[in-house]
């Protein structure tokens, strides 16, 4: 069977239907090829989901793909990261001496923990930081006055502040959400704009090691809850009582020779 004819520009070789915007503005999810779209679907959830995430420390390879796609997806300016990877050991990607005098190293991805009992929400004088109906911690930038109490209150250090006009590496910025105003605080939204279209957050999609699992913490039969049950799952700074919805799966036991 002959192939479908592809009409291309004689000079650039670009298909003629791609030479310019056709004006058909589509949601980035609707524009996905079918197989890709299926890959990103959130799937089962309870009637009133409480979104959470598991991050597998064993599977994290410290590549920052989740951090970079976060930056791209959310148009995070230069100098700011909503999501970053800590090295437990020494400086970036270097080991430190562990318990038995051996070198050890682990990577710990860190973004907003979407606490059920969020200190940032409590201290916000204007209610700009709020917990939405699906239990995500979000910021209403219209109401943010830039006092940064929330940044001081957050024990995880994951909020960033727009001190000046945002600077981007490329003209026009990137991604799928608009830039935040100068003088406001911003942070991970768990890609709430994607959840609205039944797609997992971009960090979950883009982890090449499949270290992240997203789902409904109130769905007792869901993949996320099962995973947390079957693996040693902990949360960061449990003693602070913040009850994060991001859980960390602990490394496997090693079998040295």
């Amino acid at each position: 069977m002959p192939d479908t004819e592809v009409r291309t520009d004689v000079v650039t070789g670009v298909p003629t239907d791609r030479r310019e915007s056709r004006g058909a503005k589509r949601s980035p999810v609707d524009a996905l090829p079918p197989a890709s779209r299926r890959y990103g679907e959130i799937g089962d959830r309870s009637t009133k989901p409480r979104w959470g995430m598991a991050v597998d420390i064993e599977r994290c390879v410290g590549c920052w793909s989740c951090a970079v796609i976060c930056k791209s997806e959310n148009d995070v300016p230069l100098g700011m990261w909503w999501n970053r990877i800590l090295t437990r050991g020494d400086d970036l990607d270097r080991p430190g001496e562990g318990e038995h005098g051996h070198l050890e190293m682990e990577w710990v991805p860190l973004a907003c923990q979407h606490c059920d009992d969020a200190p940032c929400e409590k201290v916000c004088p204007t209610g700009a930081t709020y917990i939405d109906k699906e239990r995500l911690v979000l910021v209403n930038q219209d109401d943010c006055i830039g006092c940064r109490y929330c940044m001081a209150a957050c024990p995880y250090g994951v909020r960033v502040f727009n001190w000046g006009k945002p600077k981007y590496p490329v003209d026009g910025g990137t991604g799928m959400v608009g830039a935040r105003p100068v003088g406001t605080v911003e942070k991970c939204t768990m890609c709430v704009h994607r959840i609205a279209e039944d797609q997992v957050p971009s960090c979950v999609w883009s982890c090449p090691a499949n270290a992240r699992v997203f789902g409904d913490l109130d769905d007792p039969d869901g993949r996320l809850v099962n995973l947390l049950r079957s693996r040693g799952a902990t949360r960061l700074l449990e003693d602070k009582g913040t009850r994060p919805k991001v859980w960390y799966l602990q490394p496997r036991r090693r079998r040295p020779l």
Partner: protein, 839 residues
């Protein structure tokens, strides 16, 4: 879990300017009010499925999200029909739009106005630039011969069409094409020597089927990120992971055991492993008899194998002889089938007398006896003196490797990139054969280096009516011919006068740069095609702006997974950039319109169809695959699942080697004339150099330069933040790693030199010097300095990068045969000594 605030602060400090967005000068985009924080996604015009393909072997399916004619997001397509591969792609690929629209993008043709390398250019029209190239090449071609023009293009496996256009144009005009796989040091010479193939690695997915993974000089967690998960899957499935590396790498962090080894001593380590397997009775000797040359007899007087022709008049010179213990006499065997004749109990040891055809007799011994004798020198205790590895660790490792089956060896560039990388490969291959781990899922000896692999029938596109371009190993372009160069190398009679450099930052990423620049200074015309203003482009006479892989068509594959994929243009090329195929069409048209019409009246899609059709016959690699299929997504090539090499040899006793495309089988068959896995090499040069069997030789550069002046080994591993020099200028990645090239040095060595963390230090040897910043860390071995390759020169205080210091030495063993990219000189990047001092 006990991450405390201090940890957080430390992590934050590692990220340049986390909180401060100061210094902003432009508002690139209107700010959007965000009431309630829950706006829907911004819209796009389209999402285009294409393939990321720098020189990294990832070949990852990506989606380009396009808004107003620009790519605003790149994200993994995650559409492989085999879900294990989803998603495929790393942070570098996800940030490629910054390369497209960054400040280093070349947008017009440029013609040099200042001295070479001054960076002074004027913009030119395409017609002027192309005229300049065509006229210049015509003049060189007519005066010196067309073969004195070197066409260079990295790793054709990552793009059969545009890179293929280089080969086609070379064939059409008679220019010589350079190699890259060997030049990159990635050609694992142990493979052609032992198995007769260019290379043959397991599909990465197959790691998950292993019970035991032994990684030697390999760091897939950081340098093969799309495949890293398969190591983790293996661990999930209960496999044990052992990493042998001088450096505590990201992969060491995931291992059950990390074994520190002295740099460049991997062969001694592997020989002690092999010795222990043999000594403790753990070896699969039937495997050795059936598939390898172990039983073939070798004459003690000549060192050559005993042939049937030696035994009786009229006997075949191509039939070999084993000693049958059952019949207590010699038995001849052919090369048409592996295994041994029924009832033959072939000896692997002992000395025997045979009567020769011409009268008299000769002492013979099975080749394996010679291997065993060499191994006897490498008890764990003896090896420890070279490798620094505890003998007890070798014994534990040998027992686990030989019994936790199937077991895979993954050899990486850290082990291969040595002058004697072939010996390291041969010794590791011996371990795999001794345990019968060849040709089985979960096992194998795999060398993961380079996106070299030609998996389809490229002949109709890469040749001019079947006439292939002359191909010269690029190391000879760099340094001229060696005394031991193989006579088949088509080195140009007049030497080199012109260079057409594509897909490469050649003038930074070649070894022994000062020597390369001597060659460049003798050239009449240097043309560089790129989409980034690299230091290579800056040294050109004419710069031609290339379309990136998001702006043109190509067809791509990789050794790491078996999917054939398209690159489809997502957007129009930035500025006036164009595809390489278009450039060649225009250049050839200016030189010879008739040949242009005959050979370049094709567009990319024609070329893709030519390749699909050529391999589309029954049993062909592209059987049943159409362009339409590829436009929809990745298509698995017609290979076994999982894709494991040598299945036909192991299951059906078909002789080695399988074919290495695009070479003809006759060309590579001579690498292993016995048709078996060869651990004994009888060719003169192996005997002259005492390398007939796997052995250990000390690093080469330590004998070239004065070791007393240069006591440190200079390692230049791949960085996780770059693919060679690509992404060196990526702003997001620079924010993460900080953009200051570190020289990693052990605290002992730093202390002895009065060096503290963060000091500006000079790294130097007889070939060159650079200045960068010390990072004092226990992660690296005492006696070494580590400077990651691929930094652009702009990041150094002084110098162009590590290749100011690396060597271009050619190992004469690599010149025993000549088949481009398959048996030819492989660069020893890590075989380099230096000294470090405070700058």
């Amino acid at each position: 879990m006990a991450v405390d605030r201090r940890d957080f602060l430390k992590g934050a400090a590692g990220v340049a300017g986390v909180a401060a967005g100061a210094g902003a000068t432009t508002v690139a985009r209107p700010q959007v009010r965000r009431g309630r924080g829950r706006e829907p996604s911004e819209t796009v015009d389209r999402v285009v499925r294409t393939t990321c393909s720098p020189n990294c072997t990832g070949s990852c399916g990506q989606l380009a999200f396009v808004r107003d004619g620009r790519i605003v997001k790149i994200q993994q397509a995650a559409d492989y029909p085999d879900a294990a591969y989803n998603p495929r792609g790393c942070m570098k690929g996800l940030s490629y739009h910054l390369q497209l629209y960054g400040e280093d993008r070349i947008t017009t043709p440029l013609i040099r106005t200042g001295e070479r390398g001054s960076g002074h250019f004027r913009k030119a029209s395409w017609s002027e630039a192309l005229d300049r190239v065509a006229d210049g090449f015509k003049e060189i071609g007519e005066r010196h011969g067309w073969d004195s023009i070197h066409v260079f293009g990295q790793v054709p496996g990552s793009g059969y069409i545009q890179k293929g256009a280089n080969y086609r144009a070379s064939a059409v005009l008679g220019m010589t094409h350079g190699t890259s796989f060997d030049f990159n040091g990635d050609l694992p010479m142990g493979m052609p020597i032992t198995f007769g193939v260019q290379n043959a690695e397991h599909e990465a997915k197959d790691w998950a089927n292993s019970r035991f993974l032994l990684l030697v000089g390999a760091n897939p967690i950081e340098t093969r990120i799309p495949d890293a998960k398969f190591l983790l899957d293996a661990a999930d499935n209960g496999a044990r992971i052992v990493v042998v590396d001088p450096t505590y790498s990201g992969t060491a962090a995931k291992a059950d055991t990390w074994i520190r080894i002295r740099p460049g001593t991997d062969a001694a380590f592997a020989l002690s492993l092999a010795w222990t397997i043999l000594d403790e009775g753990l070896a699969d000797l039937d495997f050795m008899r059936t598939y390898t040359d172990a039983a073939l007899l070798v004459r003690s007087d000549t060192g050559r194998r005993l042939r049937e022709a030696d035994l009786r008049p009229g006997g075949s010179p191509d039939r070999y002889v084993v000693w049958d213990r059952a019949g207590d006499g010699p038995v001849t065997i052919g090369t048409d089938r592996l295994g041994l004749p029924d009832g033959v109990d072939a000896a692997l040891d002992g000395r025997y007398e045979v009567t020769l055809a011409g009268g008299g007799s000769a002492e013979v011994t099975p080749g394996f006896a010679r291997v065993r004798a060499e191994l006897g020198r490498w008890t764990p205790e003896a090896a420890e003196k070279v490798t620094g590895i505890d003998p007890e660790m070798i014994r534990k490792l040998a027992r686990a490797y030989a019994t936790e089956s199937p077991a895979a060896i993954l050899m990486g560039g850290g082990s291969n990139h040595w002058y004697h990388g072939d010996l390291q490969g041969r010794a590791l291959a011996l371990c795999a054969a001794l345990t019968g781990n060849i040709g089985r899922s979960g096992g194998g000896f795999s060398v993961y280096v380079g996106q070299y692999k030609v998996r389809v029938n490229t002949a109709p596109w890469w040749t001019a009516d079947g006439e292939a371009a002359k191909v010269v190993s690029s190391i000879y372009f760099l340094r001229g011919p060696t005394e031991t160069m193989h006579p088949d190398v088509p080195y140009p009679k007049a030497g080199y006068k012109g260079l057409f450099c594509t897909f490469a930052n050649m003038f930074v990423q070649s070894p022994d740069l000062n020597r390369l620049y001597e060659t460049l200074d003798g050239l009449d015309l240097i043309v560089v095609v790129d989409h980034q203003m690299t230091d290579t482009a800056k040294y050109a006479d004419v710069v031609l702006p290339a379309a990136s892989w998001y702006e043109k068509w190509d067809l791509t594959a990789t050794p790491l997974h078996p999917f054939l994929q398209l690159q489809q243009p997502a957007v129009e090329p930035v500025g006036e950039s164009r595809s390489e195929l278009w450039m060649w069409r225009e250049i050839v048209r200016r030189i010879d319109p008739a040949r242009a019409e005959k050979y370049f009246d094709h567009d990319e899609l024609d070329a893709i169809r030519m390749i699909l059709e050529a391999g589309g016959g029954p049993g062909g690699p592209t059987e049943g695959i159409t362009l339409d299929d590829l436009r929809r997504g990745p298509v698995r090539l017609r290979v076994p699942d999982p894709d494991v090499p040598f299945l036909d040899q192991i299951r059906n006793l078909t002789p080695f080697p399988p074919r290495s495309l695009p070479a003809k089988l006759e060309a590579t068959k001579k690498f292993v004339p016995t048709g078996r896995i060869e651990f004994y090499k009888e060719e003169d040069r192996f005997r002259e150099r005492s390398e007939t069997v796997p052995t250990y030789k000390p690093p080469h550069d330590a004998g070239v330069q004065d070791r007393r002046k240069y006591p440190l080994t200079l390692l230049s591993p791949h960085s996780k933040w770059r693919i060679h020099s690509t992404y060196s200028n990526n702003p997001w990645l620079i924010e993460i790693h900080g953009g200051k090239p570190p020289v990693l040095i052990h605290p002992d060595d730093a202390h002895a030199r009065g060096i503290s963390d963060g000091d500006s230090v000079e790294v130097f040897n007889d070939r060159g010097r650079i200045v960068a910043w010390a990072e004092v860390t226990e992660a690296v071995s005492p006696g070494s300095a580590t400077l990651f390759e691929g930094w652009w020169p702009r990041f150094f205080e002084k110098g162009r990068g590590v290749n100011d210091l690396t060597a271009s030495s050619v190992n004469p063993i690599h010149e025993v045969h000549y088949v481009p990219n398959m048996w030819c000189p492989s660069t020893g990047w890590k075989d380099c000594v230096c000294e470090v001092r405070r700058a």
